[in-house]
């Protein structure tokens, strides 16, 4: 639906049609005005009401009884939860039906989070009830609802009737109707009873939870944690995350949330120091963005880039981050390699892989394949001799050969063919190097060497 031709725009903009009136009395419109009329009729004496006998349902309760309201105001309550502030506020909206104008009178705060009030049900006056009291069964009612015809849920007052209605809606597989019935049940049943019944009605339960989610009224455990994304200020976000630590997460998730809090705490400290950008490295490579709210690995990369070599005691040092967040060696090496290669600190790159054995010899060892190391170095435009050193460390001769050829490390190609005793390939390769060059002479020497036992 995204295509709009100019002529379409012109059409939409230039249409002049017959005037629209709000007092259409068509069927749909009547329905929409139901509640408005209900409100109005509470206030004025209903002259048409010639039926003085109060209607009583089978259970003996009066039907369509008027709620006890002040004569000229109708109060409409709704409650919003404001969970992370630890209190709920009751917003009181007052309608003055005569004018039907709207204003917010007061916002009253409660400290007790469990307080919950519901809108009193709009009851239709007796005269109107007559039309609706035609005995629609639960089945008929939900069917009428699905077709968008007039219906009334008022007569479903006993728990049994309400549940029949709900089950009927569920059996229709129409989520729209299921939710409509649930909204009615929410208004007319206590939360405890409603949940008790929903526990054994999975489909209805999921509709209800989704409805609450969309309305922003109820937050499942993780939804509660998700709230932090709405908090812009990093200090408040950190405090909010801290408050999440006490939530009953699973063991694993609790650890992740703890990490999240610690990470943001560190980032705030680092950011405060680095924002000024006084060290030389910041002048040479100005920061592109703040480190706040970045993922852990991005933070580690940042730390390897700007704070490499700092002692483990400082929060901003790679060593500290690595230890605090239990970062695997593989992950650490990958990230540090990326950062140091970006800075072209080939010496740091070297020392990442250097290990000393018990005799004191240095040897290169890596938890990631050296072909991957080469890949990263190459992407960071490493000079030929650095690249060559690492290509040479690739274990698998096939892989080594293909990368050596790709990056034109002639010596390695030649040596590998020599190791593989592949004279034919060596001759083929001789055609690819510059005639008379050092490589050319080396190959020449090798293929004439009678001491090598070539396989071909």
């Amino acid at each position: 639906m995204s295509r709009a031709k100019p002529e379409d725009d012109e059409y939409w903009n230039s249409s002049k049609f017959s005037a629209f009136t709000f007092d259409d009395e068509d069927d749909e419109f009547t329905k929409m005005k139901e509640s408005k009329r209900a409100v109005n009729s509470i206030l004025v004496d209903d002259d048409d009401d010639d039926d003085d006998v109060e209607k009583v349902s089978w259970s003996g309760e009066p039907i369509g009884s008027k709620p006890n309201l002040t004569p000229c105001f109708f109060f409409f309550f709704c409650l919003f939860y404001n969970i992370h502030q630890g209190c709920s506020s009751l917003v009181l909206e007052i309608y003055q039906p005569a004018l039907f104008s709207f204003n917010i009178l007061a916002v009253i705060s409660f400290t007790d989070t469990s307080t919950r009030a519901y809108a009193p049900e709009l009851r239709k006056p007796k005269s109107e009830c007559k039309d609706y009291m035609s005995d629609w069964s639960p089945e008929e009612t939900v069917r009428r609802m699905r077709k968008g015809r007039a219906y009334s849920l008022e007569r479903f007052r006993s728990l049994q009737d309400k549940l029949l209605l709900l089950d009927e809606a569920v059996s229709l597989h129409d989520g729209n109707v299921i939710t409509a019935v649930l909204i009615y049940l929410k208004r007319s049943l206590s939360k405890e009873i409603l949940f008790r019944e929903l526990m054994v009605r999975e489909v209805a339960l999921r509709h209800y939870v989704h409805y609450l989610k969309e309305m922003g009224e109820q937050k499942l455990l993780l939804m509660q944690y998700k709230e932090h994304l709405n908090i812009k200020d990093e200090g408040r976000r950190r405090d909010f995350l801290k408050s999440c630590l006490s939530l009953p997460f699973s063991q694993d998730d609790a650890m992740h949330v703890q990490d999240h809090y610690t990470l943001l705490e560190r980032q705030i400290i680092i950011e405060a120091n680095d924002k000024r950008g006084e060290a030389e490295i910041f002048r040479k490579y100005p920061r592109k963005a703040s480190i706040l709210n970045m993922p852990l690995i991005t933070t580690l990369y940042y730390s390897c880039f700007y704070h490499y070599g700092e002692p483990e005691g400082t929060f901003s040092s790679p060593a500290n981050i690595r230890k605090t967040f239990r970062i695997s060696e593989k992950q650490y090496i990958l990230t540090a390699l990326g950062a140091r290669a970006k800075l072209k600190s080939w010496f740091d790159v070297d020392s990442l892989f250097n290990t000393k054995n018990w005799l004191g010899y240095t040897k290169k060892r890596s938890p990631i394949g050296f072909h991957r190391v080469v890949d990263i170095l190459q992407k960071n435009n490493a000079p030929a001799q650095v690249l060559q050193e690492y290509v040479n460390l690739i274990d698998d001769p096939e892989l080594r050969l293909s990368l050596a050829q790709k990056y034109k490390c002639h010596d390695i190609v030649i040596d590998t063919y020599k190791d593989l005793k592949d004279r034919q390939q060596l001759i083929v390769y001789q055609g690819k190097v510059e005639r008379g060059s050092h490589e050319d002479r080396k190959i020449e020497e090798l293929i004439n060497n009678m001491q090598i036992r070539w396989k071909n």
């Binding site: 909204i183 526990m199 999921r206 994304l229």
Partner: protein, 607 residues
Amino acid sequence: MYVIQAAAVRGRCAGCLMAQSGRRDAPELPDFSLLKRLARDQLIYLLEQQHEVDKLYKVELKPIVSTADQLCFLIRPRIQTVKWISDVVNLDKAAGRLRRYKIIFTPQKFYACEAVLEEQGVFGDVTCDEWAFYLLPLDDDIISLELPEFFRENFLEGDQRWVGAAGGALRLIHSLYGPFSKVYGIGQCAKMVYESWREQVEDGEQKTQQPEIGNVFLIDRDVDFITPLCSQVVYEGLVDDIFRIKCGSVEFGPEVTSSDKSIKVMLNSQDKVFNEIRNEHFSNVFGFLSQKARNLQTAYDKRRGMDIQQMKAFVSEELKGLKQEHRLLSLHIGASECIMKKKTKQDFQELLKTEHSLLEGFEVRECVSFIEEHINRQISMIDSLRLLCLLSLTENGLLPKDYRSLKAQYLQSYGIEHLLTFSNLKQMGLLVEQQPGETLTVMESKVGKLVNDKTAGKLTDAFSSLAKKSNFRALSKRLVLIPKSGEEYDLRVPRDMAYIFSGAYVPLSCKLIEQVLERDGWTGLEEITRMLNGHEFAVSGGANGTESRIKADSQRIVLVMFLGGCTYSEISALRFLGRERGYKFIVVTTAITNSGRLLEALLDNHP
């Protein structure tokens, strides 16, 4: 707004590049342009008959600056949008401003939305209408409901609000192109949509007419999650993966057009160049395009040595067509180059190799470490998630230690807020831990405590039972989804639907459709449906008396309705199947999807 299209005479797709050997007697497809006309007329009616409309607003959830004294909103029935409109109304009221408001919900209004209007005290100030716009024909054989939210709301949230709409869409098709003689289906939602449709048909009047569509197949997206999670390698799917096709059109940026502006192109069978390559494996596309370019050159070259009269004829008859073709050709060459560049950059070859190994169940440990490294290097967040899901689906869940470690590393690389994403994926059964059935519920109940309500603490208990096993290995064996490895697969002459995944995998969804059509039902597939959690059905339609008169042609037209979305690769596979077996498939889908869209719908890392 959709383009109001004149009912153009369509050049039917003839002479496709491959499968020339396919059956030529395939029936003609019904003309769906009628659907657009119907929808357009209804909207015009809504706007024309009742209200004087000055301007339609695109809802952006920002304050409205307008002097108009009536506002009309054309929206999807979403609570958030209705809340925003309520705020607009209440702000106006507070400022003492008198306005009239109209909401047109499409395709239907929900009671929950009206309840919001009521709750916000604007019911009555705002009036509502419905624009029953269910079906947008994207091409000769693709109709979309354009309801991407269907997927998440139905499969993750368990909200059946769109079942009625899907049933309604089916009813509309039925009344225009039916009656159907046979309806097959699999999946919980499919069954509900079928029932909803049946009831709606019973409510309405029954017409007798010549059927144009004989068979219908309804399938839930959760019957097959593997297929939409695989990288697409057929041209149309690749274009969708990389450039994102929206409502059948795509915007090619400067890197494709090799100029400084972007071009919007309609991608459908009207585009002659595209029509010939859309279903092709990408490896064939370059060859085809360069052949096409040579032909074009020859056609242009004809000009040489023409006399004035011939030149005149050439200019008036051929030149326009050639120029058009020239333009399209250069666009698709540009797009192909761009695809190549992007794919080589991200080590696509290795990615594909991992996907294929997972599908095959071969060298799984290597796959795990590839995925780990992918995560460690912070390469595409969606691709990492996609591989994790593929691993879980093909292996019936991850080993507990892998699950914990990969999840932790994922959160470290892409942000801890993805905790919610993992919880969603778990609930969907897309990314789970292998464990014996018992412990699952215990674990879940520990996790699933509600914060501010103890009564509802057991909520997620109910959900945990929903995560189901995928049984992919067993299914793949029974349905022979993985062709024997080692055999050379010539992608230019595909032998089965596996060509859409380089010959590595036959899409499960399409294989099921093939099998059911072949067997005229589910007989013999009992074991398979059991592994897919059942909910299969096959019902003969109501057209009993007229059975003999039903045109043989309509029997070979099969409408496949994907509930929760389908991919372009699946459509390509069905087109292939159609050519092989003499069927014509019409795909009706709640939306076109791909791995990116599918997973993005389940992300919860933003407010």
